[in-house]
């Protein structure tokens, strides 16, 4: 059966750690770094559970800083 898989690239230097993408992701792919910060001091978002991504772009829709590139592929 065809299966949709997705992947995201996050611009982690641009990210402000607002958490909105984490809340919006339906499959709990995203988290904020608990300790590490970027150059501007923000706990940036990262893909804690990348295999669960379905490429729905919900994260990209709510990100105020346009940090996301979203990819999608259909596999057999």
């Amino acid at each position: 059966m065809a299966k949709i898989r997705g992947a995201v690239i996050i611009d982690q230097q641009r990210c402000k750690g607002c958490d909105l993408c984490v809340v919006a992701c339906p499959t709990d792919v995203l988290q904020l770094q608990p300790k590490e910060v970027n150059d501007r001091g923000y706990h940036f978002a990262y893909t804690a559970n990348p295999d669960a991504c379905i490429g729905c772009a919900s994260c990209a829709m709510v990100c105020p800083d346009a940090c996301f590139t979203v990819y999608k592929i259909t596999t057999e």
């Binding site: 990100c63 105020p64 592929i73």
Partner: protein, 253 residues
């Protein structure tokens, strides 16, 4: 299949809009202004308006909007964006002119300019960011602040007897014969964002077709002014703001 494989072999379903400049915005983390800027940049590109659009920036947190979206901009004095947009549009009817204004700008100091530009039916788009507060200056009460809402200048909550009532600008503007399209949107969920972008498109199509004034109100958050996290601010907005400012089209002709 790893993420690397998907990135290598899959198709791009979303990427940063081309018309957003590289520089980071000064907006607080999670601010609605950022989301609206993003969909505006996407739309201006999709509609081929890169060289035709003229934005008029407000005074308020969006005062530097011209730094972020790569079209032509004019910076107006506080509240005067619709008057400046009127001139820009009348002198350059082949261009597509929009204002971008907060509630302090559009509904307080600029009330007269807003109402009269709309009443004249200027062929412009007014983008109205209603976050129910003066974000830029530190969270003072705005005309759109809800009854009971705490701000720096209503620390015990807004009171009708002292402060009057929250003003529903879009309802007022919808009554004017000069407006062709008045809608209230939000950007707190992926579905709302997609819908809001469609509304913005309708507004720009109206401006191109010279149908009159289009108003797109975004019921928005100011998480810093509201003293909530961005996610909690979205929840508070849905629970409290939408009752007074219900989403949907108020007028579409």
């Amino acid at each position: 299949m790893t993420s690397e494989d998907i990135i290598k072999n899959g198709s791009v379903v979303y990427s940063r809009p081309r018309l957003l400049n590289e520089r980071n915005t000064h907006y607080c983390p999670g601010c609605s202004h950022g989301v609206v800027h993003r969909i505006l940049a996407e739309l201006l590109d999709e509609m081929g308006l890169e060289d035709k659009a003229i934005g008029v920036a407000p005074v308020g947190c969006a005062v530097f909007a011209y730094n972020y979206i790569d079209v032509d901009w004019i910076e107006a004095a506080h509240g005067r964006a619709p008057a400046v947009a009127t001139a820009a549009n009348r002198l350059n009817p082949e261009n597509v002119v929009f204002t971008y204004q907060g509630d302090g700008d559009l509904a307080a100091i600029g009330t007269a300019e807003t109402i009269h530009a709309a009443n004249r039916g200027e062929n412009i788009v007014m983008i109205f960011i209603n976050n129910a507060i003066y974000g830029m200056t530190g969270g003072q009460m705005a005309p759109t602040t809800l009854l009971g809402q705490k701000t720096a200048t209503s620390p015990y909550g807004r009171r009708a007897d002292i402060n009057g009532f929250p003003i529903k600008m879009s309802d007022i503007l919808a009554q004017l014969d000069g407006t062709c399209y008045v809608t209230r949107q939000a950007v707190h969920t992926p579905a709302a964002v997609r819908k809001a972008k469609k509304a913005l498109r309708t507004a720009f199509e109206n401006a191109i077709a010279k149908r009159g004034t289009s108003v797109v109100e975004f019921v928005s958050t100011c998480n810093s002014g509201w003293k909530l996290s961005p996610a909690k601010a979205n929840e508070w907005m849905a629970a409290n703001m939408f009752e007074k400012y219900p989403l949907g089209d108020l007028k579409s002709i």
